[in-house]
């Protein structure tokens, strides 16, 4: 397959928004591993198990597989698993084979996101989950969604690290001429695996997305500060204010745009998105506008990336790209991902 970015194992990935995980079995594939997710009845803890029954590999996320209390009963012949993945019942006999278990995955629920650890469970440290506190903080309102895209996850990373595409792909929504025209600064924190891309526009048109939600008419100062915690979490700190009032926080609107970029399989990625604001929080019309408008914007990216992947798939091997200044952050992200993939493939060192 053309354009396949290597997966980085031994990392946390967002498998779901918290509200998606409940008493219905949810199937998700992360880094090629099929998972079934649910919440326990007892204390609401999210559980992630391998989504294939050990017996004949029926997908446990598919009906008529069901929950019986906190146990999963396979819908094909009734093998029953507890929250650790241990098979506790097989039909017709008393002895449950010792090897009858499905893998269970470390789970960390943070900031209304359900993270799963893909890799060696012994290395999973929940404190290493990157945070997005605005998603679940008092005083903030969030709209959100998830769209699967049939493209290499590297294409989505590229897309999000270079916001100059807003001007062209999202013109009339979030793009204005100034985005593509304004130089960026790029910072790479090598050890933390963070890429920061900043674009500060002193005097810009206010795009409809913000004009209609904030009521700002006229020129604005607009700052976009990206913080990409490779491989999965992408934060865009957005701030707009009337032009000339850039230093005046009382007239500024801060919006946090969050993406989780979760590789699903080769050529497939989950695009989790969220828009959070701490202004006009009780205005339901603004909430609905931002939800609908951002969904439209996300779908513009989804359509473009589906198309891009198909067209890359039709290319001869070894096609060339041409990078220019706007790509400085995207290139940095690619390199960090390659390093993380390499580290995740290394044999595990003994934990000291």
């Amino acid at each position: 397959m053309p354009h396949t970015t290597a997966f980085a194992r031994n990392q946390w990935y967002v498998a779901a928004h918290a509200h998606e995980v409940g008493r219905e079995l949810l199937g998700r594939t992360v880094l090629g591993e099929p998972l079934v997710l649910y919440r326990t009845e007892e204390d609401g803890t999210a559980v992630a198990l391998h989504d294939r029954c050990v017996h004949r590999r029926y997908p446990l996320s598919e009906a008529p597989t069901r929950l019986d209390g906190d146990r999963i009963v396979c819908g094909y012949h009734g093998f029953t698993y507890d929250t650790t993945g241990t098979c506790v019942y097989v039909p017709g006999q008393k002895r449950v084979p010792r090897t009858a278990r499905v893998a269970s995955y470390p789970v960390a629920e943070r900031d209304s996101l359900v993270w799963v650890w893909i890799g060696d469970p012994a290395l999973a440290d929940p404190d290493a989950v990157p945070r997005a506190r605005h998603l679940d903080s008092p005083g903030w309102v969030t709209v959100r969604g998830m769209e699967p895209i049939d493209c290499d996850y590297g294409l989505l990373v590229d897309n999000l690290l270079d916001l100059s595409h807003e001007t062209y792909l999202h013109g009339g929504y979030i793009g204005t001429p100034e985005v593509a025209e304004t130089p960026i600064t790029t910072e790479v924190d090598e050890d933390a695996g963070i890429v920061r891309v900043g674009r500060h526009m002193a005097d810009a048109e206010c795009p409809p997305f913000y004009a209609r939600s904030t009521g700002l008419a006229g020129r604005i100062s607009r700052r976009q500060d990206i913080e990409y915690h490779a491989p999965c979490l992408y934060l865009l700190h957005s701030r707009i204010a009337p032009a000339g009032a850039d230093g005046d926080d009382s007239r500024a609107f801060r919006t946090e745009i969050t993406y989780a970029i979760t590789p699903s399989a080769d050529g497939r990625v989950y695009d989790f998105w969220a828009v959070s604001r701490d202004w006009a929080t009780d205005d339901a019309e603004v909430t609905e506008f931002l939800r609908a408008n951002n969904h439209t914007v996300v779908m513009q990216d989804v359509d473009a990336l589906n198309l891009l992947q198909r067209s890359l798939g039709a290319e001869r091997a070894g096609y060339q790209e041409l990078s220019i200044n706007i790509d400085t952050g995207g290139l940095a992200a690619r390199r960090i991902l390659a390093r993380l993939a390499e580290e995740g493939d290394k044999p595990v060192e003994p934990v000291s």
């Binding site: 999973a124 960026i184 924190d189 200044n325 290139l331």
Partner: protein, 57 residues
């Protein structure tokens, strides 16, 4: 589990009003280029060609 933050930060500024990228390595070496591929190639070659007194270009 998280790698220790040793503060190794690479920075590339696209100089306003120009097509020039100005890079600063965590060692203090600086470099200019008009192409991000060339810029990262220089940056990641650290310490090769990195003069901390700022004459890396």
């Amino acid at each position: 589990m998280t790698a220790a933050r040793t503060g190794e930060v690479y920075r590339v500024d696209w100089l306003p009003g120009t097509d020039v990228l100005h890079g600063t390595c965590h060692c203090g070496a600086e470099h200019t280029a008009e192409d991000p591929v060339a810029m990262w190639a220089w940056m990641l070659a650290h310490p090769d060609g990195h003069d901390p007194r700022g004459n890396g270009s």
